[in-house]
């Protein structure tokens, strides 16, 4: 069942990619803040019309 070795390698590398992403995120402070992102995404950023004139 050599294929299992291959698949373990594949799965572990995928996990490694995820881990790298996670570590990157953690290092960059992606997970430091766990309150404001949930609220911030609710705000719309449509350009306010009258603002253009000023």
């Amino acid at each position: 069942m050599g294929i299992i070795i291959l698949m373990v390698i594949a799965s572990v590398s995928l996990a490694a990619v995820f881990l790298a992403l996670f570590l990157w995120g953690a290092k960059k402070g992606q997970f430091d803040e766990d309150e404001s992102p949930a609220v911030r995404m609710l705000m719309d950023d449509k350009k306010v019309k009258d603002k253009i004139d000023t």
Binding site: G2, L14, L21, K28, D34, P37, K47
Partner: protein, 761 residues
């Protein structure tokens, strides 16, 4: 801080919206069609023609009409069209729709590249359209949800990589440093799907012909099965679950206008889910020839999945805390609530089905489609419907044309789900339990497999089709509602927005000042791209060495298929027979009694691809060889209800009319040699004599059993003269040769049942 003005690309979102809706209707329509064929197998006869006097066909044609379709309305082919439409076209486009809308707004930037967006859009639609055509014409690899032949696999890979590059570029351009959890889900989806797709579709084409693509899987038998279900399970995980969870984390808070219950939980949900999901695949192969420890690992991880899944479900539902009064009024929230509930149900049921106890009953029965459809109809479908009802008015700057119509859609579709899944649960349990019943004298209580099918087709299958029709009706209401919304609204292709520019601080913190723009961006991008390249290169290099070497058979009596059998096997794949017939006898008392000796891994070493199947709408075929005479198979393919009254199998008259194409036998065998199948020089020298000899024997045995048939062929020979194709040269004979070969390698002698291939020897 400088405010920057930029424009969101709404046009690409609009196109994905149209595509999602279009393919939704297509997926549901084909679903109803295949559901109907399950209890009304004569439907193609009624449309195209039949030799049965009691069937008056639509165009008044005879059986030649049906034969002329060459199987375009065969269940096996339509089923894969339905699944491709549902998984990749409907849910796939739905995900892109939500992702292209939310990503721009979450990252406060336009998509990375308009060109890439459009290549992605049209490339994806092209892939789906070509899938439809190629499946109709019988070009498929037989591997479930990956039936696409090699040119389409390449197209998918290219489009997917462009989508990923576009996504990464958008992230680099972002004006918000923090990546909201939905983005993480999109990234996880992209990474996992890319790898799964590549690994499961490693195949060698027999030729570079694009008009008639045909390839063989790099892996054989048990190994192919393992890779396939590792893929199959993760297709559910990373095409039908993680992208939709990303959508959930964006659109549910947006629609409810309140933050997600716990942002921390959503982050934990994501990371735990993706780390656990990739190991659960083997639960699709419990009790099969797969090594037991691999099965145990699959079960263990499947049960663990319950934790992140339910954490996510509760996080979604609790987001609506304090907004439940609005759920009563707003159809969008209604759809979301049922969707998330279905996610919870499906992810509870999944781990349960992954235990050996329940898997024994559920596997190969209608329980599995019931489970799947709670996920697709309930979780995926309702999530996307809710999203569309919220998004369409936003996109067209108006209100939804009719809340009443959306509510009607909600209730009709909910009823549709119930009518779909409840009969299928009953059908699954009924069939699963009937298979196992024994009489006191030790004989099977339902010895005839047909008894376990006919009981389902009278009520349960029609009810399922009715449920599907209700769901489709709901889809039509959606079309009307969205169309009316679009008509009254006005749409802005490039929506203006403004946000402060992102100050670059990250690199500065570490390395001091400097022009890091280039250094910061390019290496990361290059690293990712080179990782992908290395992974592909490495895979191409490593896999053949591992796979081909371990293909050495350890059951001495197992030999490669003869040329005629190989052609027959390809016909089996062309017609999609494995959609309803398994080739895997599990080591249970009832299965051994019903089908014969249970399946050994060493028997499949030349099976490129494996054909274990996943459902038994018909009996298992692994020990079919020698069970029924050749003439029986001939009649059975001509009209299954002739030999097996009440059968739900379609007719295959074209197999009997068509001449077997032998022009590619040689290159097919050569490809097999590349994969490690030991065809010798003599085998290549004697292809034609070998095929002629085996075919003649089958023809003779059919004519011996049925002299009237012989007379008919003799008469036809006289009438047609030179144009006459003898029975022995027709497709049916090749198929019969394959069916008669199945499982016969070891039945004549005692074999060492403990031998497992590739144990390192």
């Amino acid at each position: 801080m400088q405010m920057q003005t930029f424009k969101y690309d709404n046009k690409i979102v609009k196109y994905f919206l149209y595509a999602t809706i279009f393919w939704a209707i297509m997926a549901f329509t084909f679903g109803v069609l295949v559901a109907t064929l399950k209890f009304f197998p004569e439907l193609p006869d009624y449309i195209f023609g039949s030799d049965d006097g009691s069937i008056r066909s639509l165009f008044g044609g005879g059986i030649e009409g049906l034969a002329a379709t060459n199987g375009k309305m065969g269940f096996g082919r339509l089923r894969m069209i339905h699944t491709t439409f549902a998984v990749f076209a409907f849910v796939g486009n739905g995900f892109f729709l939500g992702a292209y809308y939310s990503m721009q707004r979450l990252l406060k930037t336009r998509m990375g590249s308009d060109l890439m967006s459009w290549i992605h859009f049209w490339g994806w639609q092209l892939f789906i359209a070509l899938s439809l055509v190629s499946f109709l014409y019988g070009f498929n690899t037989s591997k479930e949800y990956a039936e696409h032949e090699w040119p389409l696999d390449i197209l998918i890979a290219v489009v997917w990589i462009i989508f990923g590059a576009n996504m990464l570029k958008t992230i680099y351009k972002r004006r918000v440093r923090h990546l909201y959890v939905a983005i993480w889900f999109y990234l996880g989806t992209w990474t996992a799907v890319a790898m799964l797709h590549i690994f499961n579709n490693l195949e060698i084409p027999i030729s570079w012909s694009l008009a008639a693509p045909k390839s063989y899987s790099l892996y054989a038998g048990v190994q192919d099965a393992l890779v396939q279900w590792w893929y199959g399970h993760n297709a559910v995980a990373f095409v039908l679950t993680t992208p939709i969870l990303g959508l959930m984390y964006y659109f549910v808070p947006k629609a409810a206008n309140r933050p997600v219950f716990s942002y921390k939980l959503s982050i934990i949900h994501f990371w735990s889910l993706i780390f656990v999901y990739i190991w659960a695949g083997p639960h699709h192969l419990l009790y099969t020839s797969l090594p037991a420890w691999v099965q145990a690992v699959g079960t263990g991880f499947s049960i663990m999945l319950l934790a992140p899944s339910w954490g996510g479900m509760l996080n979604g539902l609790l987001t609506l805390r304090g907004a439940w009064d609005r759920v009563r009024e707003e159809p969008v929230l209604k759809f979301f609530v049922v969707a998330i509930t279905c996610y919870g149900m499906a992810t509870f049921e999944g781990p349960m089905l992954a235990t050996k106890t329940l898997n024994k009953i559920g596997h190969f029965t209608d329980w599995v489609p019931a489970h799947v459809h709670v996920g697709t109809l309930g979780w995926n479908g309702f999530m996307i419907f809710g999203m569309i009802y919220w998004l369409a008015p936003k996109l067209f700057n108006t209100k939804l044309a009719s809340n009443k119509l959306a509510n009607a859609h909600f209730w009709i579709a909910t009823l549709g789900i119930l009518f779909w899944v409840i009969p299928m649960y009953v059908a699954g349990w009924t069939q699963g339990l009937m298979w196992q019943q024994f009489n006191e004298d030790g004989t099977l209580k339902y010895g005839n497999f047909l008894q376990t099918v006919t009981i389902l087709k009278d009520w349960l299958y029609p009810m399922r089709a009715f449920g599907g029709a209700l769901y489709l009706t709901g889809g039509v209401l959606l079309v009307i509602n969205v169309w009316r919304t679009i008509r009254k609204g006005s749409y802005i292709p490039n929506e203006e927005a403004e946000a402060p520019a992102l100050v670059k601080i990250s690199s500065a913190r570490k390395k001091g000042e400097g022009a890091h723009t280039w250094l910061e961006r390019m290496p990361t991008l290059l690293t990712i791209l080179s990782f992908v390249a290395v992974a592909i290169g490495g895979a191409v290099e490593i896999i053949p060495t591992i796979v081909v070497k371990s293909n050495v058979p350890t059951i001495a009596s197992v030999t490669p298929y003869t040329p005629l059998e190989l052609e027959g096997r390809d016909l089996f794949i062309r017609e999609g027979c494995n959609a309803c017939h398994t080739q895997m006898i599990r080591p249970f008392r009832d299965e051994v009694k019903r089908y014969g000796e249970y399946s050994k891994p060493g028997e499949y070493v030349y099976d490129h691809p494996f054909l274990w199947g996943s459902q038994r709408s018909g009996p298992d075929l692994h020990r079919e060889g020698g069970k029924n005479p050749d003439a029986w198979h001939y009649k059975h393919m001509w009209d299954p209800r002739d030999t097996s009254p009440g059968s739900i199998m379609p007719r295959y008259p074209w197999l009997i009319f068509n001449k077997l194409d032998r022009s590619k036998t040689d290159i097919k065998m050569k490809t097999m040699v590349k994969l490690g199948v030991p065809y010798q020089e003599e085998d290549f020298d004697s292809i034609t004599p070998s095929m002629n000899k085996q075919a003649l024997a089958i023809e003779q045995s059919i004519f011996e059993a049925d002299s009237k048939l012989k007379e008919r062929y003799e008469k036809e020979a006289k009438e047609k003269g030179d144009n006459f194709v003898p029975l022995r040269d027709r497709e049916i004979v090749a198929l019969i040769s394959y069916l008669q070969r199945l499982g016969t390698d070891i039945s004549t002698e005692q074999t060492e049942t403990t031998t497992i291939i590739g144990t390192g020897k």
